[in-house]
Symmetry: C2
Subunit: 199 residues, 2 copies
DNA sequence: TTATATTAACTAATGATATTAGTTTTATCA
DNA sequence: TGATAAAACTAATATCATTAGTTAATATAA
C-alpha cells in the first residue's frame, strides 16, 4: 500500500492514548510521544497536523470508543435499565481511560465536523434509549441535555478528585441516575394534570 | 508596607483572570501575562510560584468568587427557590467568567489545602440549601454530589459548545434543576413507603 | 535626615518545545 | 530495474519556563 512502511495513524493514537491515560493529557508533547514511538518529533507531522491536530484526532478516537461501549451496553435493554446501562458504560469508560476521556472534551475545536458527527451519534443513542419515557416534543432534547450534563459532570468531578472519599461513589452515581429518572416520571405526571407548572 | 511599590498579587490575578476569560485558560503564559502587566516574565516569580503556582492561585481566586456569588444568591431564599438561586448563580458565573471557571477545575493539584478549603465551603453552602429537603443520613451527601455534577456538567458542556443551539439553554437548565428536585421528592416518597426500592 | 534591609524589578543564560524547510531513505509499482 | 511516493531524517528558528545573579526603590530604624 504505502511506499514506505512506517507507523500508521492508529499506532500513533494508541500510543498517545496510553500516555494520556497514564500520565495525563497535558503530558503529551510531540517530543515525548515521538520518544515513545522511537522516532524524531518532526516525523509525527507525517501523521498528524501538529499538536492541535493530534489532540483533535485523539478526541475523535476517544469519542468513537465511547460510542462503542455505550452502544454495546444498550443492546437488549430498555427503559430504566437501558439508561443505567449506558450511564454505567459512560462512567466506566471515563474511569478506565481518564486521559482519553479528557481528550474528548478538550478538543481544540468543538465545532469540528468529525467531532460533531460522533458527538451527534452519542446524542442519538441517548435519544433512542430515552424513547421509552415517551417524551413529547422538545422535552426529549432537554432531557438528553440533562443526562449528558449529569454524566459528564459526575465523571469530570470524580476524575479531578472533586468528591470527598467518605461515601461510595458508585452509590452516589446510581442514586443520581435514579433520582433523575424519578424526576422525569414526576414531571410527566405534572404536565399531564397541570397545564404549566411554574417554569 | 512593602519596601518597593511593584505589583501586588491581586493585580496579577486580576490580569490573569481577564486573559483567561477573553482568550482561554491555555493562552495564559508567563510571557503573555508579563507583557500585559508591562514587566518581564521572570518578575512574576516574585508573586507566584511559576506557572503551576499561578494556576493554583487562579483556581482559589475563582472559587472564592464563585462561593461569593452563590452565597449572596442564597440569602433570603429557601427550598426549591434557594436551589434555583444558587444554581443560576453558578451557571451565570461560569458564563461570565469562562476562563476563570475553567481554572477552578483544572488546578494542578486538587488535593491542595487551600482549594479543599474553599471547595468545602461551597459544598457546605449546598448542604445548607438542601436542608429543606430533610434528607436523612448519607442522602444529603449523595444529593449534593448529584447537584454539583449537574451544575458542573451543564456549565462545562455549554462552555465547550457541546449542546446544539436548537433549544434555549436556559430552559434546559431550569428544567434540569426542576427534574432533579422532583426526583428528590419522589425518591423520598418511595423510601418512606417501601423499605428498599431496588437500588 | 540618613543608613540599612527588604523586596521587586531587571538582565543573562539554559533547556525544552513546536514547527518549518529541505534532505535522505525505502517500499511499491510500472 | 528504475521511478514515485511516503515517511523518516537533520538543521534551524522562535517561543517558553525557569534559574542565577544584579540593580533599584522604599519603608523603617538609627
Amino acid at each position: 500500500m504505502s511506499p514506505r512502511n512506517g507507523l500508521d495513524l492508529h499506532t500513533v493514537l494508541q500510543a498517545a492514548a496510553e500516555m494520556a491515560d497514564s500520565q495525563g493529557l497535558d503530558e503529551i508533547t510531540l517530543a515525548s510521544l515521538a520518544q515513545k514511538l522511537d522516532i524524531k518529533s518532526p516525523s509525527l507531522y507525517n501523521h498528524v497536523n501538529g499538536l492541535p491536530g493530534l489532540r483533535k484526532k485523539l478526541a475523535v478516537y476517544g469519542l468513537d470508543q465511547l460510542l462503542d461501549v455505550m452502544t454495546r451496553a444498550a443492546v437488549g435493554q430498555s427503559g430504566a435499565a437501558a439508561v443505567h446501562a449506558i450511564s454505567e458504560a459512560y462512567i466506566s469508560f471515563a474511569r478506565t481511560h481518564p486521559g482519553l476521556y479528557d481528550a474528548t472534551l478538550r478538543a481544540p475545536d468543538a465545532a469540528d465536523t468529525e467531532i460533531q458527527k460522533v458527538g451527534g451519534d452519542i446524542v442519538d443513542l441517548a435519544v433512542r434509549v430515552l424513547h421509552a419515557y415517551d417524551l413529547k416534543g422538545d422535552a426529549a432534547i432537554h432531557v438528553v441535555r440533562g443526562l449528558r450534563s449529569l454524566l459528564h459532570g459526575f465523571a469530570s468531578l470524580e476524575q479531578r478528585g472533586g468528591f470527598g472519599l467518605l461515601l461510595d461513589l458508585d452509590v452516589s452515581f446510581r442514586l443520581l441516575i435514579d433520582t433523575f429518572l424519578a424526576g422525569i416520571e414526576a414531571m410527566k405526571q405534572n404536565s399531564e394534570t397541570i397545564a404549566k407548572p411554574e417554569l
